[in-house]
Amino acid sequence: MLKADTSLGVIFFPAFDWAISPTHPEREERLLYTQDQFREEGLFDIEGISEHRPLFATDQDIMRAHFCFPSVDAICTESHRISAGGAIQAARLVLEQETRRAFALVRPPGHHAMKVVHGNRGFCNINIEAVMVEWIREHYGRKRIAIVDTDCHHGDGTQDVYWHDPDVLFISLHQDGRTLYPGSGFPHENGGPRALGKTINIPLPPRTSDEGYLYALENVVLPILADFKPDLVINSAGQDNHYSDPITNMQFSAQGYARLNHLLKPDIAVLEGGYSIKGALPYVNLGICLAMAGCDYSAVREPDFNAAALRESPETMETIKQTCAYVLESYVHPPMGDFEKQGEFFIRERKIYYDTDGILEKQREELKDCDQCRGLRLIKTSSSQIQPCLGVELPIDCCSACEREGYEAFNRRSGEFLVTQLLDQKNKQFRYLSKG
């Protein structure tokens, strides 16, 4: 009988009673066949692989990671709290050393949810990895954390949450944004002025298969991780690079996914997208679990797998190699971005579209250029649905001047903002203030 070399806790939560809509890819059926495969394989009979239920993310858990406007309840249903709670359970298992690794196989996903949230983007409301990372730092102190996003879509939400945070290295491998939602994730997107080089984007051409994907992993991701030396490695584990995925154009396989996790050795994996629910997920999820547990995964393959037919062309391989060389160089010598400055603040003005909910957000971010700390951040945001709101973020190393200025901004009742939210990482204060 099989035995895990590395103990693995799996939080399997298929949310069999939740869907965005009856025929949406995010529907009750999504993890049904994965459960069938797990049961038939007897995955949880393997010594060292255990199954756990999710915890439940509270308002405070979510407010450590996000500005939710007008309130947490307006953004989050119970399904989102449980999904984030699944990620928190994974972190708890690993940090309490109950299991060496953990995989939160939960839905709905989260990696398109940005720092500010007005609704659902790309099937995501709250960023379950970010809620988890902030929970880890709240309970176990400041840590260096690497998030490797292996979903086929650019992890634009997670990138946004950690854009200014030099303690979090974010690496996304994804299908080239010129060919797929959300249309971002280019190599020049490499972090804010205080965290330059801590965001890494590796766009891969359509029809990339096992060789090309693993080339990028071994030649870019692993060397960068070795340099960054994180305390924790998190795999934001989308399964939509699979050759049978209905909404992407890649040619990755279950063997490839297993090998990826074998090489990456993530402490925690969190499920993201992946919508080939019959042809891919049962095999990919099994491969990931076995690889994370250090078990033999050599016989895990799709019934219709054909390596020769899926292999990428020499031209595709050449493109991947060129991209990889460029990305690695820009980690070592990050080019100074073209940051706009007004007075002592770095300014970003953006429009963000929430495709699922049809919301258009207008946002102005002001980051103080402070030489004592990472700088106070003020985010003024409004949308097609809601009047202007203000988010005030004090970084973990916040200096007293930024702290004073932040609290002044939070407490100022000018009537300009419908709701103001405080996210004070230094003093661990997370709360709202409403107009009037």
Partner: protein
């Protein structure tokens, strides 16, 4: 009247019960070389002066199959196993005649590669050459599609004395457990058949016309005729019988804990609203998990004879045992000796207990009382810790819906029922440590036989329906048939109840439909290419373990057979 017999490792216990009254009980040593002799002795005891014709039911719990397996006295089994992508099937290897047959089905039951007939022929020929006559056939995902297993059974033809077929064992998915279950079922088939024949002959001598049932590990029974095909279901029925005995003497519908304290180990079971908690998938034997449904019993190495040791200044109790306690002539101080020293018990030679603890205490700079107290505390802590972990585990078991996360009732037992030799001694100790009401029922050490007598037949089935494929599957009954597109969850529930009731009726067990519980009823919208293609329906129905009567608490007039 009902007779319950439990053949245990040391004793064979029997009771005769009339309605809710315990009429007679008997206890004899178990003769492992001749179980029938032990059964006959017990029957002589409980039937003395009674009219055997009035006995309607005889329920028997036996260690026959468990012992055959753990002592290796089993038949060789030819295993024909067909796997597929996933965990490599070689990892499930069991026995000396394990043969892989190429072929595969996927999770929907679709054939993804045909069964290799050459592999199959070679495997059967190899078994034949080695004189193997009992077989087990299993293919991955056979509950979704039995065709590969059926092909293997057909290929065996009349060369096999007995074949266990995977999809008939359980409708639940678990390839490894399916392989283990059919292996053990075929391995003990001949032994059980021999015993059954001899038993029937023997009972005729008593003028008994009762229906005979065999106890299962889930605390219920199966008719003897059914047991002949599924003897593996009789493993580990002893602890289950004790649990049912508790149920027959306890208040209804409460969360309860049961603790059975023995000499070497203690067993802990949990009841949720009066129902014993079952293993999620099945019980393990020889470290191999099976699909045999069973009451979850937590066994820990604390008992009256648990050895007391002092290591690095810390007092430990159990899990080792070096023979009996000193009060019963043993050579090393044990938990029961500590209880004697503290005056909590007065068992056997109390002076021997004192001498033993005094010597050990002196070697570790303690008074005998201090040592005894620390030893008892250590034992109570282990018992309490196990109980607390069990409750926590049950309340945090994996669930798959938001509804269950938000609405699940927490199981919070307020009462602990303690049975076994030193039960009374632990009453106050456990009550104060756990904050529970502790009850020690007067069961005369035959809770197991009482449970056997009063338990009823249990059964279950799993039904799946896929309206996109237009197919209904009830693997355990071998039913795979077409259904209309409009087949609904309610249709599936009705069908499951009907099929379960009909099947039990055919086995001679009439039931009312209220006895059937639906433990799972899910329906999933299946979507292909953006359009709804059908429904995927899963239903599990069961007749749960329960007792047919609760015993009168007044048991003063009971006669212990074999004593004046």
């Amino acid at each position: 009247m009902r007779i319950g017999i439990d053949i245990g490792g040391t004793h064979t216990d029997g009771v005769l019960i009339d309605g809710t009254r315990l009429i007679a009980l008997a206890k004899v040593p178990t003769n492992h070389d001749n179980l029938l002799e032990s059964i006959n002795q017990v029957l002589h005891g409980v039937l003395a002066g009674q009219d055997p014709v009035r006995v309607r039911t005889l329920n028997l719990s036996t260690t026959l199959t468990t012992n055959a397996i753990v002592t290796g006295r089993i038949d060789p089994v030819g295993m024909l196993v067909s796997g597929g992508p996933g965990i490599a099937p070689k990892n499930y290897r069991i026995g000396d005649h394990f043969h892989l047959v190429y072929g595969s089905l996927d999770h929907l039951g679709t054939e993804t590669s045909a069964l290799d007939e050459l592999d199959l022929e070679e495997a059967i020929a190899a078994c034949r050459a080695q004189g193997v006559k009992c077989f087990g056939v299993a293919s991955k995902f056979s509950p979704r599609n039995p065709s590969h297993e059926n092909l293997m059974v057909a290929a065996l033809g009349d060369q096999a004395d007995f074949v266990s077929c995977g999809h008939l064992v359980s409708g639940q998915l678990n390839f490894g457990r399916r392989i283990h279950t059919i292996y053990y079922n075929s391995a003990v088939w001949r032994t059980f058949r021999g015993f059954s024949g001899a038993l029937s002959a023997s009972l005729k001598g008593f003028d008994l016309q009762a229906e005979i049932n065999i106890l299962k590990a889930d605390g219920g029974t199966m008719p003897l005729a059914r047991a002949l095909d599924a003897p593996v279901q009789s493993i580990f029925s002893g602890p289950a019988a004790s649990v049912m005995g508790i149920l027959a003497t306890s208040p209804l519908d409460e969360d309860l804990l049961m603790l059975d304290i023995g000499g070497t180990t203690s067993d802990i079971a949990l009841f949720a609203a009066g129902e014993p908690l079952l293993e999620r998938e099945g019980i393990a034997i020889e470290g191999r998990p099976t699909l045999v449904r069973a009451i979850h019993v937590e066994s820990i190495g604390i008992g009256g004879d648990s050895l007391i040791q002092v290591e690095d200044g810390e007092v430990r109790t159990g899990p080792q045992r070096l023979g009996p306690c000193m009060a019963a002539g043993g050579s090393a101080p044990s938990l029961m000796d500590a209880l004697n020293v503290l005056g909590l018990a007065a068992f056997g030679e109390v002076q021997s207990s004192r001498e033993g603890l005094t010597a050990l205490a002196a070697a570790h700079q303690r008074t005998p009382q201090q040592l005894a107290q620390e030893a008892v505390d250590a034992a109570v802590n282990i018992l309490a810790g196990t109980i607390e972990t069990l409750i926590r585990t049950v309340n945090t078991k994996p669930v798959y819906t938001i509804h269950e996360i938000l609405e699940d009732r927490e199981i919070t037992p307020k009462k602990l029922i303690v049975i076994g030799g030193p039960a009374a001694v632990f009453r106050t100790l456990l009550a104060s440590r756990l904050g529970l009401t502790v009850i020690v029922p007067p069961l005369h050490g035959v809770a197991n036989a009482i449970g056997a007598a009063l338990t009823r037949t249990t059964s279950h089935l799993a039904l799946t329906a896929n309206t996109a494929q237009g197919r209904l599957s009830v693997p355990m009954l071998g039913i795979f048939r077409p259904i209309p597109r409009g087949f609904s969850l309610q249709d599936a529930i009705n069908e499951a109840k009907n099929l379960l009731a009909t099947d039990l009726e055919q086995a001679g067990v009439p039931i009312v439909s209220d006895d059937i519980q639906i433990t799972q009823a899910d329906t999933f919208n299946m979507v292909d290419g953006g359009y709804t293609s059908g429904k995927n329906i899963r239903v599990v129905a069961q007749v749960r373990p329960a007792v047919v009567a609760r015993l009168d608490s007044d048991a003063s007039a009971i006669r212990l057979a074999g004593q004046p």
